[in-house]
Amino acid sequence: MTRRDAMPSSPRRRGRTRWYLVTPLIGLAIIVAGVVWLESLAPEVDTVDRRVEGVPPLAMPDERACTRQTGEGVAEELRDAFPQGGRIGSTQVHLCPRAFDGLGVTYVGEVIGEVLPRRGGAWVQVNDDIYALEVGPLVGHREQDGFNTGMSVWLPDGLHQQIEAAGRPGRRGDVILVRGTLHQADPDDGGGITVRAEELEVLAETIEIDDPLHVPQLIVAIVLAIAALATVAWSRRTARRA
């Protein structure tokens, strides 16, 4: 600690403090800007060939939310308007589960994750978002559309054997169409919302998705890695000298 540090506050010293605060902020801003720029350089692929054909339209296109308030008639209206065996969407069901409880439905989506074989059948999670049915997994493109949405489907009596593969990081799994009954509080699933399937049809088979290499990012990574090693070496030298 030099004698200068013991002196009372002076504009030069206060300036130094301000500089110590401003520099990191500028540095952070540069880093953030650099990262954003790097990400914008990512390669993009056309997603047109990932669209699933042959998906029947939703039986009721409007999505209405209900609550459990007594006297509210939304669930009953939806129920009455719903054609037996029509196609439902997962978002639609979650907005008013009891409207569809016990109804015969059709549900379409991508099998995601894995098939979980149990006694008498298997559980699958089936997503019907755009990543499943339209643009494929969010790999190599930036057509973002929010969370995955889907429902649990119970496939009894070996129906699951028709499924070739489930969706994973590098792949869009089988897109299936099931016909069955929807349960708002399935007793065999501890009260969960499920579709108990009776028939299954594979609409689209699994496709492997290529993630094109982001070359600028690779270059930046190599440069920064070298810089990091250099910094560590320098800091060891500085520490040894101190």
Binding site: G27, A65, I112, S152, G191, A227
Partner: protein, 504 residues
């Protein structure tokens, strides 16, 4: 205490922050290795970019500003406050580069959510996310959970015993063992033991649920970090629904409870003193509040007809309550259905449980049971004082590690922070209402969940949520994890700098 920071103070803070960044850089190396093995090349380069930046800034800073100056309480608080903020910014780098986030703010949200063990997510297409990126999200919960405890303890070890006594002024029992190093080691031993046992139990349960061994290991490890660190991120978007397994749910609940048990109580159990646990004010507070809230949940769900069986009530209602109390955030229901299918009473009870949160000195969030307990004791104390003659001496005691007397400073500290939490929750709820797309049930539920670092979502938090609300939630998660005190120290610092009172 008037804070008048100078250049030396800033250098000291920069030194310790450098070390924190170095730690974060090392954490990023783990998913890098996984990405290379899994041939997820773009993820690997993203992590290398992130790790390199952390290491460059971190080692440069800690070398340039190396010092042996002792820390004061103010320094420690500012470092902790900034550690989470700066840490979240750097942690967000590989996330944003993955292309799964709409903009840098969303990546920052996810990073802050992981580090504060909140567990709210704004990621696009989680179900197709590369393994390394998913593991990274879960590792951040571990880093923010166990890791930060170590950071705090070592900071205070650097500061000396005087700091320790200041830090425990809020009736918290951080000094489990007389020596900070031994305390840190004990915490790691507990975490390590549960890691081995918990992951194994989950692995076996997942095998039984129909998983292949490789997938079972992957899910088991991630589930462990999310549950024991009471984080709440999940491998799949459908959270715990994905598993359809009672055994998985039971093990997860046990891990969540283990995670919300304070380390002091773990220590008591390891030493064979279960009675200390039963006598502790926090245990008793949580036992009473959780029972009452669960009764409300059960009543609410049955009355609306949402569920009508014991099994459903337990696997949906009780699980959600445990998730809320432990501030984990795992869900067995799709968020929207809390609004559309659970009625009003059950979600309200969950909100209450979330507001209270778990135990202090654990990775749990919320107001914390100790403050609720102290607030209640304060109320009883004041009522007694009014009712008894003026000359009577009223002494209230409680058990928190050892028998303690209720002191005015303790009452004030507890109730002040309680008030701050509640004000923040309400503020967050109001901001949510500004956008006109959500109603009060949704915004209040989400605000309490975010501000208490819980992570149970009713659907307001999503990749498409309004940016202003996202920014407010980021600040709330930060405030909630730091329990305000550290943030005030930081604000004080900044204010004195702005006023030009910087000393030489």
């Amino acid at each position: 205490m008037i804070l008048r920071p100078g250049a030396d103070d800033i250098r000291l803070i920069a030194f310790y922050l450098g070390k924190v960044l170095l730690g974060l850089g090392l954490v990023m190396l783990v998913p890098t290795v996984i990405a290379l093995f899994a041939q997820e090349w773009n993820s690997a380069t993203a992590f290398v970019v992130g790790a390199s930046l952390c290491i460059i800034v971190g080692s440069a800073s800690s070398a340039r500003f190396a010092t042996r100056r002792p820390l004061t309480w103010a320094h420690g608080m500012v470092i902790v406050a900034l550690a989470w903020l700066i840490g979240a910014v750097f942690a967000a780098i590989p996330m944003y580069l993955s292309g799964r986030f709409g903009d840098p703010l969303a990546a920052l949200f996810e990073a802050m959510s992981g580090l504060t063990t909140t567990g709210m997510s704004v990621i696009h297409d989680l179900d197709h996310t590369p393994l390394s990126e998913d593991l990274y999200r879960h590792l951040l919960q571990f880093a923010g959970g166990q890791g930060i405890v170590i950071v705090v303890l070592s900071l205070f070890a650097a500061g000396g015993a005087r700091i320790a006594s200041l830090y425990v002024s809020e009736a918290r029992d951080e000094r489990i063992l007389p020596n900070f190093i031994r305390t840190a080691r004990f915490i790691f031993m507990v975490a390590g033991t549960f890691l081995v046992l918990g992951t194994t139990a989950l692995f076996l349960a997942l095998l039984g649920a129909g998983f292949t061994p490789a997938r079972a290991i992957y899910h088991a490890i991630n589930l462990f970090f999310a549950s024991f660190d009471t984080g709440g991120f999940s491998v799949m978007q459908s959270s715990i629904i994905y598993y359809h397994s009672l055994s998985v749910e039971l093990i997860v609940m046990l891990l969540m409870m283990a995670g919300t048990l304070s380390f002091g109580l773990h220590f008591a159990l390891w030493n064979g003193n279960p009675r200390d646990v039963l006598r502790h004010l926090e245990t008793r507070t949580l036992a009473i509040t959780s029972t009452l809230f669960f009764a409300a949940v059960a009543f609410g769900l049955l009355r609306t007809g949402t569920y009508d069986s014991t099994e459903a009530l337990f696997r949906k209602g009780f699980f959600t309550l445990v998730s809320a109390v432990s501030s984990t955030g795992h869900q067995v229901n799709v968020g929207d259905t809390y609004l559309t299918d659970w009625g009003v009473l059950a979600p309200a009870a969950i909100v209450g449980a979330m507001a209270i949160g778990g135990m202090a000195s654990s990775t749990a969030g919320g107001i914390k049971a100790i403050r609720i307990g102290i607030a209640f004791k304060t109320l009883v104390h004041d009522v007694k004082r009014i009712l008894l003659p003026e000359s009577a001496l009223v002494v209230t005691t409680y058990h928190a590690g050892k028998r303690r007397t209720l002191r005015d400073e303790t009452s004030r500290a507890a109730t002040t922070v309680l008030l701050l939490f509640l004000v923040t929750h309400l503020f967050g709820a109001m901001v949510g209402l500004l956008y006109g797309e959500f109603d009060i049930t949704q915004t209040l539920f989400e605000s309490v969940s975010v501000g208490s670092n819980i992570g149970v979502s009713i659907g307001v938090v999503s990749p498409e949520m309004p940016h202003g609300l996202m920014a407010v939630y980021i600040v709330m998660m930060w405030l909630g994890r730091l329990e305000y005190v550290a943030v005030f120290a930081l604000m004080g610092y900044l204010l004195s700098l702005a006023r030009g009172k910087a000393k030489a």
